[in-house]
Amino acid sequence: MKRAFLILAAVTALLLIYATYQALVVAPTERTMGDVQRIFYYHVPSAWTAGCLFFVNLVASVIYLIRRSSWSDALAASAAEVGVIFCTIVLITGPLWARPVWGIWWTWDMRLTSTLVLWLIYVSYLLLRRFSDSAQTPVLAAVLAIFGALDVPLVYFSIWFFRTQHPQPVMGNGGSLDPRMLHVFLLNLGVFTLFGALLCWARFHIETVRRQLDETRALEALLDDGRTGSSPARSTR
């Protein structure tokens, strides 16, 4: 398992370097926006990756509620954390792009607001995990994840009705993307997804090891019963 991870990490690193080079150097400069447009190659893939990870969190939460397996809870926690990181990247790169292009840092339109609300929901999920003391935290967190996921379509509908100002996406609506740009964009999309999966895997591994460590320590403390120094069941892992 460890070797597979290292190989994947090496491949991802190389692909990231290649994709970054493509995005910053090779891709043609956009006609109206100039070089600032290159943020697009990080902004949109990050949003996509965050969305994928939040979906993984939902699926893992549902699996946990049905089967109560420890790995699904660890996966849900990891996916949420890494997803929040990518969502934060989206919320930071967005205004960085918007300021030179639209002249404003922020606007309460459809996309920005719904991304912000998504970020808020999942940060509240992480806070619940952190502040909850009980042994049933995974159940509570899984339930909150389901509520959050149910809320997402409602958020989209409410904001869609009340504010629509975001310019139409470059790819849809007949406004076609230069094929070279499309190629670089798809490359970055794939690489970011891979990167997100890699980070999630790493976090999942750390979480699993941490839980094993906690269990081992608890078991040792239980079996030690006063004998100084030695305890009979010392795990070698």
């Binding site: 619940l128 502040f131 909850s132 909150l144 509520f147 149910l150 809320d151 509908f157 409410s158 009705f161």
Partner: protein, 225 residues
């Protein structure tokens, strides 16, 4: 009352009786709501026309904060003397307890709104263009949206550190579509501009979706130690 199960009826009456005797939550909610209104008045000094536009938002924010005050003490009382544990081992279904809490909170927040609404009208010289019945419908749907999720999340945050702040932290993000809809619907009715149909439909959808989710998942939450 006969539609409710005995467990629900007993719990609801118990809560009403306790509240009536001590009036803890009602007093604190009322005074807190009044303070919020006054602070808003110092922060925003709207003209009569402006006030009609921003007052709905102010009203609902004040109600939201006061609802959180009510929600926080919903379950806290049950922790003492292990009353909550007694519920968990009782043969009554968890949802009967949940329904009782939701109805109790609806009642308390309803009383709050009934008292505060005239005060708002006075402070902001409000005159509604739309009918009172429409406003009442929005008030009912909106309050229900806050209370259903709030009661559920109050149970979720029961065994967390910083319980009082955890409830708003997990409630507010998920309530955003509901708050937006109720404020928009109120604004439309009060100013008479636009249609309130979509916000009301969205509120109704929100209520249905989260009632279903709460009823389906409350048993899990109640039994989580």
């Amino acid at each position: 009352m006969s539609l409710l199960s005995p467990a629900t009826r007993a719990t609801l009456l118990k809560d009403i009786r306790l509240e009536w005797r001590s009036k803890d939550a009602l007093n604190s909610m009322l005074f807190f709501s009044l303070l919020v209104v006054v602070i808003f008045s110092f922060s925003f000094n709207p003209t009569a026309e402006e006030s009609r536009v921003i007052a709905p938002g102010l009203i609902w924010v004040a109600f939201l904060f006061s609802t959180v005050v009510a929600l926080n003490q919903t379950w806290a009382r049950e922790l003492r003397n292990q009353a909550l544990d007694a519920y968990r081992v009782s043969p009554a279904s968890p949802n009967s307890l949940f329904l009782a809490k939701v109805l109790g909170n609806l009642l308390f927040v309803g009383v709050l709104e009934a008292v505060m609404a005239p005060l708002f009208v006075v402070f902001y010289n409000l005159r509604s263009v739309g009918s009172l019945w429409q406003l009442l419908l929005v008030a009912v749907l909106g309050t229900y949206a806050l209370v259903i999720n709030g009661t559920f999340f109050a149970a979720l945050s029961l065994r967390t550190r910083m319980r009082e702040i955890m409830l708003p932290v997990i409630l507010f993000p998920i309530s955003i579509p509901a708050i937006q809809s109720m404020v928009e619907a109120t604004r439309v009715i009060v100013t008479g501009e636009g249609t309130s149909r979509f916000p009301i439909v969205l509120l109704l959808t929100y209520d249905v979706v989260f009632t279903t989710a709460s009823v389906a998942l409350f048993g899990l939450i109640l039994n989580a130690e």
